[in-house]
């Protein structure tokens, strides 16, 4: 008898068939990875299980009993819990308060904090976490917060735990800890469903993998019988090359140089004495745990934020510290923002209009102050074709595209304008494997034209495979920089978390 058995699940949204006759099952005490590209239906399937969506067809049984799950509350009652990618915690409250919220122990009419603390303490010890339930959530690291989310589910007596992209926000070390936790939970008989698109994680931790593609089950395999490459092929439906190293063969003169960059927020330094440079034909990767100054660095280097001190040169041309984003764009600095929905695109505007965003005042598109509609339309169709954007036409809203295609709109818009330097922040975040491969290919092509890219990514594999050199950022300072291949994974992990490595070790 399986802990969860989902059979023949179909789910339609207006105009799309998100799930088509999908089967999925998980045993007690099993870690089961659900693998698929964005839009393959993994999240939808789990939302069906968690009661957030109702399937149009299909049956779900929990421990052999057929059920209908109409809401997350019912799901929790059935012992199903979900940890979302974005944590749902109240930072100003204590760990204990966060964990019991919604099912608080009461003393008469009142909330019983002492009981909450002791219960949480006991629960944490059972699972092997060392936490102080009195601590406030805002003081915790991302990895710790994730554990609180897991505890939250356990507190409600969950036996089936769904984790949505749990490693996206973690450092390599935290990932290891998470996996240890998951294995412990497995020992205790929990069933864990891991939604992910990171192949090596699956190979490492899961007992079984189910691959989804275009809303259909492609197959369920055991990691020991397969390889990462095989899984990638199953996921995409064709041959893909993963994480190919491709170092620059033709590095030229300095093209872009940042000296003594300081940025303060109040009295605190967000960025301190940053010095870095980019040469023609190279990709420089910024490695670091999220929240160590990357966002601020991007904002300063694209004119969105004024630094307290900086000397910035592109070629021989110096950009003043008071220059706005428009001047950065004009100087040939392209910007692929880290959050495409937030900064990169106007989602409820057409692809066509998004294609000229940031370049809407250049002469090519305007005559006597009026937009040349035909030219812009033709340009948009050209980008759609050149950058393989899957879209019916250029008039549809960019928000209706998949993440990968949205990202291609941004990539196309920037690269087509032929900038000198591109600040590429999380260029493949939330993008499917096929599009990742394509975007990486485009970036390397651009580099080989003698341009330069500053790559900021939370995905360490991406940094390692693309960058010619790496700069490591920790608490707003550059703690190390050098040629990528001189760093081992352990070195990077230590440096990113503020540790030191001696030169001999390296």
């Amino acid at each position: 008898m399986n802990a969860v058995e989902m059979h023949g699940i179909s789910k339609e949204f207006p105009g799309v068939k998100a799930l088509d006759n999908v089967d999925f099952s998980i045993n007690k005490g099993e870690i089961h990875a659900l693998l698929g590209e964005n839009g393959a239906g993994k999240s939808t399937l789990m939302k069906v299980l968690y009661g957030m969506h109702q399937p149009n067809m299909g049956t779900i049984s929990i421990k052999g009993k057929d059920v209908r799950i109409n809401s997350p509350i019912e799901a929790i009652k059935l012992g199903i819990g979900m940890v979302h990618q974005h944590f749902m915690l109240v930072p100003v409250l204590t760990i204990a308060e966060n964990i019991v919220a919604g099912a608080e122990p009461k003393n008469g009419l009142f909330f019983d904090l002492h009981k909450a603390i002791s219960e949480v303490d006991k629960l944490a010890k059972d699972v092997g976490f060392t936490i102080d339930p009195r601590k406030k959530v805002e003081e915790l690291s991302v990895g710790e917060r994730q554990r609180i989310e897991i505890l939250k589910a356990l507190y409600r007596g969950v036996e089936i735990l769904i984790l949505d992209e749990p490693t996206a926000v973690l450092t390599p070390l935290e990932v290891k800890e998470l996996f240890t936790t998951l294995r412990q939970l497995k020992q205790k008989g929990m069933s864990i469903i891991l939604i992910t698109h990171k192949l090596h994680e699956i190979m490492e931790v899961s007992d079984k993998v189910t691959v989804l593609r275009d809303g259909k089950t492609i197959g369920t395999v055991l990691p020991k019988d397969t390889s990462a490459n095989e899984l990638a092929n199953m996921m995409v439906g064709r041959e893909v090359k993963m994480g190919v190293k491709c170092r620059s063969t033709n590095v030229g003169d300095k093209l872009f140089e940042v000296q003594n960059l300081c940025l303060k927020n109040g009295d605190r330094f967000c960025l301190k004495d940053i010095n870095l440079y980019l040469r023609k034909g190279e990709i420089l990767g910024i490695a670091g745990v999220e929240g160590n100054g990357q966002t601020e660095l991007i904002e300063v280097l694209t004119g969105l934020r004024k630094p307290d001190k900086m000397c910035l040169k592109i070629g021989e041309h110096e950009i003043s510290n008071n220059a706005g984003a428009d001047e950065f764009i004009k100087s040939g600095i392209g910007h692929i923002p880290e959050d495409r929905g937030e900064r990169g695109l106007v989602l409820d505007m057409s692809i066509k209009n998004n294609c000229i965003l940031g370049y809407h005042r250049i002469n090519r598109f305007i005559k006597k102050g009026i937009f040349l509609n035909n030219v812009i339309g033709k340009y948009a169709r050209h980008l759609i074709k050149t950058f393989k954007i899957k879209a019916v036409n250029e008039e549809i809203h960019v928000g209706t595209l998949s993440g990968g295609n949205q990202q291609k709109v941004i990539i196309g818009r920037i690269f087509a304008q032929n900038p000198e330097v591109v600040i590429a922040a999380q260029p493949t975040r939330g993008v499917d494997v096929g599009a990742i491969e394509y975007i990486h290919h485009k970036m390397i092509e651009f580099r080989d034209e003698g341009k330069a890219i500053l790559l900021i990514s939370a995905d360490l594999d991406e940094i390692k495979s693309l960058s010619d050199r790496i700069v490591i950022l920790y608490k707003g300072c550059v703690v190390a920089q050098g040629v990528t291949d001189d760093f081992t994974d352990t070195d990077l992990g230590i440096l990113m978390t503020g540790g030191k490595i001696s030169n001999e070790e390296r």
């Binding site: 207006p14 969105l304 923002p337 937030e342 695109l345 965003l357 809407h360």
Partner: protein
Amino acid sequence: MKSNVKILDKLYAAKGISNTIVLFLSLILALIVGGVFFLANGYSPIDAYAAIFIGAFGSFPAFIMTLTQATPLIFSGLAFAVAIRGGMLNVGTEGQLFIGAFAAAIVGAYIKGCPAYIHIPLVLLAAAIAGGLWAALVGFLKVRFGSNEVITTIMLNFVAINLTGYLVNYPLKNPEGMMAQTKPIFDSAKLPRFFSQYQLSAAILLAALTIAVIAFIFYKTPLGYEIEVTGKNKRAAETAGIKIDRVVIITMFISGAIAGLGGAGQVMGINHSFIDGFSPGYGFEGVAVSALVANNPVLTFFSGILFGAIKAGAITVNRIAHIPMDFVFVIQALVVIFVASPKLVGSILNIFKKKGDK
């Protein structure tokens, strides 16, 4: 709830006409619910609706009345729609209308001796600039101090209405007469009327022209593009090098200028002076006019006429069917409520659908 939304999704998914269908159904539903109101109070809904229709479209004078009532509503509807495009709620169209009207009255009554072809544009310009600056102040406060434009526009309404009220009661009151109004404007500042016996003036043409200009700016120029991007996603606008602070102020200026022109239209076409408290809420109703057509600037022309018709009809309802005018404003409010809540309409439709299934 989910299935209700589903029907609506399907309606929207059916592309193109679907919005119009929902809009139309909203109107019908408003009339049905309004009918219940009439019935509950002992009036015949059929008589009432007939009276409204006759009052609005039943005769030539009625239709002229509708257009006359529609004119200021089109201006304020358009003003609201412009601000929304830039991502702001300009609830201050009433105040901007007062300021514009006042500026028009002053320039119309105190500048003397220029021919109409100079005087009229001059008055209009004064009204647009005055209304525009009044609204731009809100934009400035927003970008400089982060104040919420809804609050500041509402508050500035009181300032505008009472400031003009003071001026027209004391320092600038017309000495020849009892009413609190300014001196009449010169003939050279009056907008021509279509027919000598009706109040309908060239202001309605001006409204159409303003819509054409706005549509051109919105759909053909980089400024319009920047306003749209800023309105839809400020962070993306900023990233694209758009100076969002400037765009916010410019958008508010344009919005206020249009509201000001609406006020000028009343002064130059109908009252021929600034009368204390002359507007029964033309500016406020702009919100409804714009909401009815999902803030589409071009369509405000037609929704303005619809609201003008309701106003014109209200007078007849009172006269013929002896139903208090206030009922008509209940209908007007219902229309806005139904249009502004498409999901509500969806769920009501769903009830009918379920009954149909059985």
